[in-house]
């Protein structure tokens, strides 16, 4: 059974259609990217999956259960890390548990128990603004994970990081994901990032946005720096570029 299944989702704002018959699937432990030019409706699709937006037609299933227009089922990490400046790091991370009604002390203890795994130990009592960019991202990811360990929607989570930090966060994310069996749906417009991280890539093109192609990246992990300069890597990239151009 698929962990997440989106079936024939269409969305329009007024007369403008944003998404047309978008269907996709996500298996347990899989990392799938949505790649597309700006304006192809990627973020809209995420808002539908997160339950924040009701699609005109189409359904969203999580482990076989319909969750269309029901917020609070999958984890959603937006483009900004959105750590709240008025909470300490541990209280930021514990937020999803507190919102679910877990008592404060218990929520905090649960959050802190994951700090080592996420490379955040020692930052518990700091204010969010005292963290560096990479650390903020880790804290935001841990918060995402504590909300739901089944599916995480990540909307360009690493776009604000510099190239070096980005690379180390990638490696770290894949390791953590494998350990905690998280399934990830990932928005990016960085092709290299998509090829390095994904098991599959959906190419979203056009207006309204449709899924035009699905590319399976059949390479073992970890994909190192070396892979990024191989002929196979370039082949994937060529294919994606071609698909993106077709769609325009």
């Amino acid at each position: 059974m698929e962990r997440l299944e989106i079936s024939k989702v269409s969305v329009s704002f007024g007369t403008r259609q944003i998404l047309q018959d978008v269907s996709l699937t996500l298996k347990e432990g899989e990392l799938v990217s949505l790649l597309g030019i700006s304006g192809s409706g990627k973020t809209t699709l995420f808002n539908v999956i997160a339950g924040l937006l009701k699609p005109d037609t189409g359904t969203v299933y999580l482990d076989g259960e319909e969750i269309t227009a029901t917020p609070g089922k999958v984890s959603y990490m937006l483009q900004k890390d959105l750590l709240l400046p008025f909470r300490t790091v541990e209280d930021n991370v514990a937020l999803p548990l507190i919102l679910k009604g877990v008592p404060k002390k218990k929520a905090r203890a649960e959050a802190v128990s994951h700090f080592r795994e996420f490379g955040l130990e020692g930052t518990e009592k700091l204010w969010a603004n005292q963290l560096s960019g990479g650390m903020r991202q880790r804290a935001a990811l841990l918060r995402t994970y504590l909300f739901s360990s089944r599916v995480a929607l990540l909307d360009e989570p690493f776009s604000a990081l510099d190239a070096l930090t980005k690379r180390s966060v990638h490696q770290w994310y894949l390791q953590v994901m494998e350990r905690i069996k998280l399934s990830t749906l990932f928005i990016t417009h960085d092709m290299d990032e998509a090829i390095l991280l994904s098991d599959r890539i959906y190419v979203l093109t056009g207006q309204p946005g449709r899924i035009s192609h699905e590319i399976i990246i059949d390479e073992p992990h970890p994909r190192t720096e070396g892979f990024a300069v191989t002929e196979q890597f370039l082949n994937y990239k060529r294919k994606i570029l071609e698909y993106l151009k077709e769609g325009q």
Binding site: N47, A50, G51, L52, P71, G72, K73, V74, S75, Y76, L78, Q79, K80, L82, L84, P85, F86, R87, L95, P96, I98, L99, K100, G122, L126, W127, A128, N129, Q130, L131, S132, M135, F147
Partner: protein
């Protein structure tokens, strides 16, 4: 922003110096006989009057302070409730916000005698006037803060299944704290002035009543003494608000070097 705030609080030196120079200049002018002593008493005379009349001043001060604080507490509560309901219902905001603005264009000196007519000479009309002048900055500050809450943060809360009251308590209220305290600081200053004006226009005790008495006795040095006392009282209230602000928002006052230390620790 925090940097700026710190600079202002740390740079009290120049302001103190200016005030001292002004006082010295004033004393010299008064001593030189350029202005008759009964029109402009010297600072030393004012200080003398202040010490002489201290017991009377103190008893009046307690009354004014009581009115100001009571009015401030009620005003802030009313301001909070107004901001909360206007934030929750957009229609109410559109219907009531202009009214709130209009309410502030009515001069307090015009309302105060009416309040005296309606509620008598005791404390009630004074407290009501203080409420009328203090709720407004708090409402405006809070509303602005609520409405400026990051939309993406609201979306994040919603995606986590947060209920409306949770978004309000855990996100909007803490996000609006800086604006709330800006409003509260203004309200604190208004509260004392409001109480004094209200006493001036009708009452049996309070610094405003004291002012009317010394004015009709042409005791200008006492007039100045009470003016300084009122200023000091307002400043004290504002300083208390500042202290509370620091306690409530420690994250805004993190030293920069502390931040650097942490970055070093990370790498």
């Amino acid at each position: 922003m925090t940097r700026k705030l710190q600079n202002i609080t740390q740079s009290k030196g120049p302001a103190t110096l200016t005030i001292l120079l002004l006082l010295v200049g004033w004393q010299l002018v008064a001593m030189s006989g350029l202005v008759p002593g009964y029109l402009l008493p010297s600072p030393v005379q004012v200080l003398h009057a202040f010490c002489q009349d201290w017991n009377t001043l103190w008893s009046h001060l307690l009354v004014t302070l009581q009115e100001a604080l009571l009015g401030l507490v009620v005003g802030v509560s009313v301001g909070f409730v107004f901001a909360m309901v206007m934030d929750a219902w957009e229609g109410l905001y559109r219907a009531c916000y202009p009214l709130l603005i209009i309410s502030q264009t009515i001069p307090t000196v015009a309302i105060a005698p009416l309040l005296v007519l309606w509620f008598g000479y005791d404390m009630t009309p004074k407290v009501i006037l203080v409420v009328l002048v203090t709720f407004f900055p708090v409402t405006v500050g809070l509303l602005e803060g609520f409405r400026a809450t990051d939309r993406d943060a609201v979306a994040l809360f919603r995606s986590m299944g947060a209920k409306r009251w949770q978004i309000f308590c855990y996100l909007k209220v803490p996000s609006a704290l800086p604006q709330f305290f800006s409003g509260l600081r203004i309200a604190a200053a208004y509260s004392v002035v409001g109480a004094v004006i209200s006493e001036w226009l009708g009452g049996f005790s309070g610094l405003g009543v004291y002012m009317t008495r010394v004015k009709s006795a042409f005791a200008f040095e006492k007039m100045f003494a009470v003016i300084f006392l009122i200023s000091a009282l307002s400043l004290l209230l504002m300083a208390l608000v500042g202290l509370w602000e620091k306690k409530m928002m420690p994250y805004r006052y993190i030293q920069n070097d502390e931040k650097k230390e942490i970055e070093k620790h990370e790498s």
